[in-house]
């Protein structure tokens, strides 16, 4: 139980008191404040506030709020960012339940029964169960991360470059298999993401690649610009086009306390959702997105009366919401231990860590234990805060959601512009976001989902780097990829999965799963 001791150390970091000069300059009023816990609180609060806005998911929220962490020390910044992430995630669920408009893919399932419950006047109980389920799932996932971090990091330190290459290829195949819609389109989007990743200056020579003469592209495409454009702006364009979809629950949301019956019905789904979500979240290639779908399907199969689903069954909220949060959290595992982001949110977290001078990877746990364990402990604290602070604030979120979209989206757009600009104080990035927004919107209109492209964009650079090193070390032979047992196993898994995805029977099942 070594990890529990270290986790306790992490809690010490979270609760640490820092003497803060209340009146800067005067030097007279210095009060010890638990700065990290305050940052966690502020992070979860504003994360929820922005995440509640319809059509703004965690990616856009983190990108938008990233600049406010610049002045903090790395530990504080990461604690705040993690808080923003859970807040945004939770805010998305709130919107899914109250407005029937998912902020992002993982809360799609919640709209099915959650919004029905809200329409029947049980919105408060749906939100409460979502919060309780998320908290239980979050607590379990925190322990899982703490337990797995050390052994996985140690294992990852033995990886060769070739193993990393094969692991990333496996991740890309997972991203294709788990993407919504056509497999071929997902493959196209993966390759598009790879091409975009190769934009910029070559590491060995000084040749610029695919910059088309723009000096601003010499450092490559800013991830925030791509993500905010292809996901955020494209989503805004789609919502502006179909404004009638918004269906805010009228009347007051009352009855925030779930009944004993609710809790009894939800216990099983929460437990199952937590486990399913945790396992899927560790998978590379956006496994977390599958958690809520899988949990919903399981609950529907297990239910005595499956016809209740889709008409306000509390199990349909409890299970997927727990899976959602568990997956959101365990997706930190591959990011923190291998340095490989399993989804777009983790990619933006890596970007944020890099800005603060932290390189995620197997070495981080040894080199910066304070930061590592502090961040993990703060995850649990953040989840607890969400449970305590958000329920009383639901009235506020409802009022925010009643603001008409015609007023809401210009504000969202301006926040996004300021966010992208602030990442590097670069106006060019704002223009680039516009270009990606238009392209993303056109692609979305033709049935191309942006998620696989974002994963490929992030993995593309790492993939090239490791591929080149692997080839140099093997003196130009490809043997290393199938002679290393680890690399070979990753490639075999990838190949089998790719073939399975194309098999007609599986393909049909996959379509059904996503249609639900």
């Amino acid at each position: 139980m070594d990890f529990l001791t270290q986790l306790a150390g992490g809690f010490a970091v979270v609760f640490k008191l820092v003497p803060i000069d209340i009146l800067p300059g005067a030097g007279t009023l210095i009060i010890p404040l638990p700065v990290n816990i305050l940052l966690c609180l502020i992070g979860t609060l504003i994360g929820t506030l922005i995440g509640v806005l319809p059509g703004v998911g965690p990616i856009a929220t983190i990108a938008m709020l990233l600049p406010i962490t610049y002045k903090l020390d790395p530990t504080g910044a990461l604690i705040m960012l993690a808080g923003i992430y859970y807040g945004a995630q939770y805010g998305g669920s709130t919107t899914a339940i109250l407005v029937n408009m998912p902020g992002e893919a993982t809360s799609v399932v919640t709209t099915l029964d959650g919004h029905q419950m809200a329409k029947q006047g049980r919105g408060g109980r749906a939100l409460a169960i979502a919060a309780i389920g998320s908290f239980i799932a979050g607590s379990f996932a925190t322990l899982l991360i703490a337990a797995l971090a050390k052994p996985l990091s140690a294992w990852a330190l033995q990886f060769w470059q070739a193993d990393y290459v094969s692991l990333m290829i496996m991740g890309l195949v997972f991203a294709v298999a788990l993407a919504r819609g056509s497999v071929l389109k997902a493959l196209v989007m993966i390759s598009l993401g790879l091409v975009l990743a190769s934009v910029g200056t070559d590491v060995d020579s000084v040749d610029t690649r695919l910059t088309f003469g723009f000096v601003e592209l010499a450092d490559g495409i800013e991830f925030a610009a791509l993500a905010m454009g292809a996901v955020g702006f494209a989503e805004i364009l789609r919502n502006v086009e179909n404004p009638e979809k918004r269906d805010v629950v009228q009347g007051k949301v009352t009855g925030l306390f779930p009944t004993a019956e609710d809790l009894r019905q939800s216990a099983g789904p929460i437990a199952r959702g937590t486990i399913v979500g945790s396992v899927l979240g560790i998978l590379p290639g956006n496994g977390a997105v599958l958690g809520p779908f899988a949990s919903y399907t399981i609950e529907k199969r297990l239910a005595k009366d499956p016809s209740r689903f889709g008409h306000g069954a509390i199990e349909g909220v409890a299970g997927p919401e727990s899976a959602n949060n568990a997956g959101a959290q365990t997706s930190f595992i591959p990011m923190l231990t291998l340095g490989i982001p399993p989804n777009a949110v983790m990619a933006i977290m890596i970007g944020a860590m890099t800005i603060h001078g932290i390189v995620p990877g197997p070495q981080i746990i040894e080199k910066q234990p304070q930061l590592f364990w502090g961040m993990i402990a703060s995850m649990w604290v953040g989840n607890l805060m969400l449970l305590i602070i958000n329920l009383p604030l639901i009235g506020l979120w409802v009022r925010l959601l009643k603001v008409p979209y015609r007023l809401l989206f210009p504000a969202i757009l301006l926040f996004c512009c300021i966010g992208v600009y602030s990442v590097a104080n670069q106006p060019f990035d704002v223009l680039l976001t516009g270009v990606f927004g238009l392209a993303g919107y056109l692609l979305l209109k033709h049935g191309f989902e942006p998620a696989p492209m974002l994963i490929a964009f992030v993995l593309g650079k790492l993939l090239e780097e490791n591929l080149r090193q692997a080839m140099t070390m093997s003196r130009g032979t490809w043997n290393v990829f199938y002679e290393r047992p680890l690399s070979l196993s990753f490639l075999i898994i990838a190949a089998v999965l790719l073939i399975l995805t194309f098999l007609p029977a599986i393909r049909k099942k996959r379509e059904e799963a996503f249609a639900e």
Partner: protein
């Protein structure tokens, strides 16, 4: 499959795949042209052009497959392309990008206007994207949002974002 699908008997069974596939094939072509001159493999070492050409080739292959699939697999029809929302939203974003700090377009230098003016115009332009845009309400709201952003990002968070145009500072 719904009745919004492409014509089952016609030559093109999935118009979406055809248009999307062709567009990306053209994009791949342009990219290939751009990286064609970069040095490739030199012995066992990768050149700057090796990986980009590999990625572009993969994109071209999948785009071609997608284009061809338009003739064999049934898929959804093309969606209606509205112009109003994309036009105003792109105008808003472009305006913000060009005027927040000023931008040198080569032929003309766009002056920097700062968040106070740039943000206000951006919100107004974006608002006009929606059919039920109301001028009076929009003006008031744009004013409120811009003030809020200036207070939040510049005053409270101390972001180095220009607030006023240089000639007013």
């Amino acid at each position: 499959m719904s009745n919004s699908d492409g014509n089952a008997n016609g030559l093109v069974k999935s118009p979406q795949n055809l248009v999307g596939g062709l567009a990306l094939l053209i994009f791949a072509g342009i990219c290939y042209w751009a990286v064609a001159d970069l040095r490739g493999m030199k012995g066992s070492n990768f050149g700057p052009g090796t990986v980009p050409r590999l990625y572009v080739a993969i994109l071209a292959i999948f785009s071609l497959l997608l284009t061809l699939s338009a003739f064999t697999t049934r898929g959804p029809k093309l969606e209606r392309m509205p112009w109003r929302a994309p036009f105003f939203i792109m105008a808003a974003v472009t305006f913000f990008g060009l005027t927040i700090r000023g931008f040198d377009l080569g032929i003309v230098k766009v002056p920097g206007l700062g968040l106070a003016i740039s943000g206000f115009v951006t919100v107004m332009l974006a608002g006009a994207a929606m059919e039920d845009f109301r001028l009076g309400e929009g003006l008031l709201f744009a004013l409120a949002i811009t003030t809020f952003c200036v207070l939040l990002f510049s005053v409270a968070l101390g972001q180095p974002i220009p607030v006023y145009p240089p000639f007013l500072r």
